[in-house]
C-alpha cells in the first residue's frame, strides 16, 4: 500500500494543473484523426524538459490516458477513429450518433473507459512492485535476453509481417550503435557530423512517429473535407450510468480483455478494442445488433482500450519492455529524466514513480469528467483541415527535436529518420519495433558486453548466455513468439490463397 503514501503529491497545484491540461489536451489530440496517441506523447516529451521528472511524467501519463479515450469522440461523431485503437468503437458509435444518440454513445464510451481505466491502473499499482522485486534476479545475460525479447516480441506480434517486424527491430538496434562506443570511445557508423554524438531518442521518436503522418497528410493532396460532425443532443448522465451497470457483461469482457492484452509486452492497445468487441459479440444474446448501433459494442471496445493503458506500463516499469508503442515513447520520457525502470524506480525514485502512477488513477476520473464536456469541442477541433494540421505538427517536430540539445543536427536526424520511416511504412515496415530497437539497443549492448566480460572470467560465453533457467525461459519466449507469429502468418497466407483459388 506504499502508493497511498504518495497520493497527496498528485494534489499539489502544479501537478493538478498539468494533469488537467494534459487530460484536456490529450482528449482533443486523441479526437484528431491523423494524430495518434503515440505521436501526441512523443511531441509532448520536449515540453517536459523544463519540468521536474515527476511533473513531466504526470503530463505524459495524462496525455496517454486521455488520447486513447479521446479517439472515441471522432469515432462516434465523425466515423473516423482518432487512433487505430478506436476502430471497434466506430462500428456501433457512429450508428448511434446518426440516430440522434451521440450524447448517449459518448457518455457510455467515457464511463466504460473510466471503469476499464481504473481497473487497469489498479493492476499497475499492485503488480508493478511485485514484478520489480522479481526483476532483481536478472543479471547481465538475462537483461540482454530481455532487451532482445522486447524487440522480437513487438517485431513479431505487433506487426503484420514477422520478417519485416524483426528487420525493423534490427534497423533500430543498429541505429542505437551509431556514435561513440561507451567502453572504448570508438566512433561507429558516423557518416555525418550530425551523428557523432549518436542518435538522441527524443528527436528519433518525434521523427519516426510525427513525420510519416505529416507526409501522409501531404499525400492526401488539396482535398477538402466533406465530413461533418454530428451534433450532440442532451442525454441524462444518470441514465447512461444505469445503462452501463445493466450491461456489465460487456464491461467485464472489455476490461479483462484489455488488461490481459496490455500486460503482454509488444501487443499494445490497437487490438484490445477489436478483441473485446469480438468477444462481447460472441457471448451476447443480442449479437445480431452489433454493428447497427448497439451500446455493448462501444462499452466493450472502450473499456478494453483504457483497461490496456495501466497494464501496458507494468512490463515497462518493471522490465523496461513497453507494452505498447506509446509505452515505448514513455520509456524514452523516463530515460531522458535519468530514471531507469525496475527496482531502481521504486527504491530510489518512489517520489516519482508513485505520484506518476497515482496521477493516472486520478487522470482516469478527470478524463471521464472532461471527456463528457469537451466532446463537442474536440469533434470540431478534429475537423481542422490537414493543410493546417500538417505545418503545425511539422513546426512542433522541429521545435521538439531542437530543444533536446539545442542542436540543428538533432533536427536533421529527426527529419531524415521520419522521411525514411514514411517510405518504409509504404512497404509494410512498422515504426514500433524500430523504436524499441533504438531504445533497448543500448540496454542490450551494455549487458552483452558486461556479460561477455563475466563469461570470459568464468564459464565461457555459451554457458553464460545459454545456461540457467531464466535465460532458457527468455530464449524460449523469444523463439515461441517468433515461431507462433510465423505460423499465424503462414496460416493466414494459406487461407488467403485458398480464398483466391491460388496455390
Amino acid at each position: 500500500m506504499e502508493f497511498l503514501t504518495y497520493f497527496g503529491d498528485v494534489f499539489t497545484v502544479p501537478a493538478m494543473l498539468l494533469l488537467i491540461g494534459g487530460t484536456i489536451g490529450g482528449l482533443i489530440l486523441g479526437a484528431t484523426p491523423g494524430l495518434s496517441p503515440t505521436m501526441a506523447v512523443a511531441l509532448l516529451i520536449p515540453f517536459t524538459f523544463q519540468l521536474e521528472a515527476v511533473h513531466g511524467l504526470i503530463l505524459l501519463g495524462a496525455a496517454y490516458t486521455s488520447t486513447v479515450a479521446g479517439g472515441a469522440v471522432s469515432a462516434i461523431l465523425l466515423k473516423i477513429p482518432g487512433a487505430p485503437a478506436n476502430i471497434a468503437t466506430t462500428l456501433d458509435g457512429y450508428e448511434m450518433a446518426r440516430r440522434g444518440q451521440g450524447a448517449r454513445a459518448l457518455q457510455l464510451a467515457f464511463l466504460a473507459s473510466l471503469v476499464g481505466g481504473l481497473i487497469g491502473v489498479a493492476l499497475l499499482i499492485f503488480l508493478t512492485p511485485v514484478l520489480a522485486e522479481w526483476a532483481l534476479a536478472f543479471g547481465p545475460s538475462e537483461l540482454f535476453w530481455l532487451a532482445i525479447l522486447g524487440v522480437t516480441i513487438i517485431g513479431s506480434l505487433g506487426t503484420s509481417s514477422v520478417v519485416k517486424g524483426l528487420l525493423s527491430g534490427c534497423i533500430g538496434l543498429w541505429l542505437a550503435t551509431v556514435g561513440f562506443d561507451d567502453i572504448l570511445g570508438v566512433q561507429r557508423f558516423v557518416f555525418h557530423s550530425s551523428l557523432s554524438g549518436g542518435i538522441s531518442i527524443v528527436p528519433a521518436l518525434i521523427g519516426l512517429f510525427a513525420i510519416p503522418q505529416v507526409i501522409a497528410m501531404f499525400a492526401d493532396g488539396r482535398s477538402s473535407s466533406s465530413i461533418e460532425a454530428i451534433s450532440v443532443e442532451r442525454h441524462p448522465l444518470s441514465r447512461a450510468f444505469r445503462e452501463l451497470l445493466s450491461r456489465s457483461r460487456a464491461v467485464v469482457i472489455g476490461t479483462v480483455s484489455g488488461s490481459v492484452i496490455g500486460l503482454i509486452p509488444g501487443i499494445g492497445g490497437q487490438i484490445a478494442g477489436l478483441v473485446a468487441y469480438d468477444q462481447a459479440r460472441k457471448v451476447s444474446p443480442e449479437r445480431d445488433k452489433f454493428g447497427t448501433g448497439h451500446p455493448e459494442g462501444i462499452i466493450a471496445a472502450e473499456s478494453a482500450n483504457n483497461a490496456m493503458v495501466g497494464p501496458s506500463l507494468v512490463p515497462l516499469l518493471t522490465l523496461s519492455i513497453p507494452g505498447s508503442p506509446t509505452a515505448a515513447v514513455l520509456l524514452g520520457g523516463l530515460l531522458i529524466h535519468g530514471i531507469f525502470p525496475g527496482t531502481d524506480l521504486f527504491d530510489n525514485h518512489p517520489h516519482v514513480a508513485w505520484p506518476f502512477i497515482n496521477s493516472m488513477l486520478i487522470g482516469q476520473i478527470l478524463m471521464c469528467v472532461f471527456g463528457l464536456y469537451v466532446a463537442s469541442l474536440a469533434a470540431r477541433v478534429a475537423l481542422v483541415p490537414k493543410s493546417i494540421m500538417a505545418p503545425i505538427v511539422l513546426g512542433l517536430a522541429v521545435f521538439g527535436s531542437y530543444s533536446v540539445q539545442h542542436s540543428m543536427g538533432d533536427v536533421y536526424v529527426m527529419a531524415a529518420l521520419g522521411t525514411m520511416m514514411y517510405f518504409l511504412e509504404r512497404f509494410g515496415f512498422s515504426a514500433a519495433p524500430l523504436v524499441l530497437g533504438l531504445i533497448l539497443g543500448p540496454i542490450a549492448e551494455s549487458n552483452f558486453i558486461q556479460g561477455s566480460l563475466i563469461a570470459e572470467a568464468t564459464v565461457g560465453s555459451f554457458a553464460y548466455f545459454f545456461g540457467g533457467a531464466l535465460n532458457l525461459l527468455l530464449i524460449a519466449i523469444v523463439v515461441a513468439s517468433v515461431g507462433y507469429s510465423l505460423y499465424a502468418e503462414l496460416r493466414a497466407r494459406r487461407a488467403g490463397n485458398a480464398e483466391r483459388g491460388t496455390p
Binding site: V163, T177, R188, F189, A390, P391
Partner: protein, 151 residues
C-alpha cells in the same frame, strides 16, 4: 503497381545490412564492434529473406508509392525540407515557421487562390499560429529556438 518498387526497397535495405556487416567485421578495435557484429548478421539474414520473398511470394511484393501519391506529397516535402534543412537555421525558427506555414497551407488548402478573402484567412491563421507558438515557447516555457537572421 509493379513488384519492382518492393524489390528495390528490399535491395537497398540488404545493401545497407551488408555495409553494416562489413564495417562491423572489418573495423578495429574488434571489442567495440562485438554487438554490431551480432546484430549485423541477423540484419543481413532478415534483409536477404525479405528480398527473396519479393521474388518468391507475390503478396510480399505489394506496396509502394504511386505517381499520384508522389505528385501530391512532393511539393509539401520540398517545402518542409527547405524549412528544416535551411530556413530554420538561416532565418530563425519563428520566421521560417511562419513562411513554411503559409506556403504549405496555400499548397494544400482547396480554397481558390484568386480570392483576397482566402489569402486574408490564410494570413490570419498563420499569424494566430505564430502568436501561440511564440507565447508557448518563448514566454511560458522560456526555451531556446533556432535563431538566424531573425527570430
Amino acid at each position: 503497381m509493379t513488384a519492382l518498387q518492393p524489390r528495390l526497397a528490399s535491395g537497398i535495405i540488404l545493401l545497407l545490412a551488408i555495409w553494416v556487416c562489413w564495417i562491423s567485421f572489418s573495423q578495429i578495435p574488434a571489442e567495440a564492434f562485438l554487438f554490431p557484429r551480432l546484430i549485423s548478421v541477423a540484419f543481413v539474414i532478415l534483409a536477404g529473406w525479405t528480398l527473396a520473398r519479393t521474388f518468391l511470394d507475390r503478396r510480399a511484393a505489394e506496396g509502394g508509392i504511386t505517381r499520384e501519391l508522389v505528385k501530391n506529397f512532393l511539393p509539401g516535402v520540398v517545402v518542409a525540407g527547405i524549412y528544416v534543412f535551411f530556413a530554420a537555421k538561416w532565418l530563425g525558427f519563428y520566421t521560417s515557421s511562419a513562411i513554411a506555414f503559409i506556403v504549405i497551407l496555400s499548397l494544400f488548402d482547396p480554397a481558390p487562390h484568386n480570392q483576397v478573402r482566402t489569402w486574408l484567412k490564410r494570413l490570419a491563421i498563420a499569424a494566430g499560429y505564430l502568436a501561440v507558438m511564440y507565447l508557448l515557447f518563448s514566454v511560458v516555457l522560456k526555451v531556446f529556438t533556432p535563431r538566424g537572421l531573425f527570430i
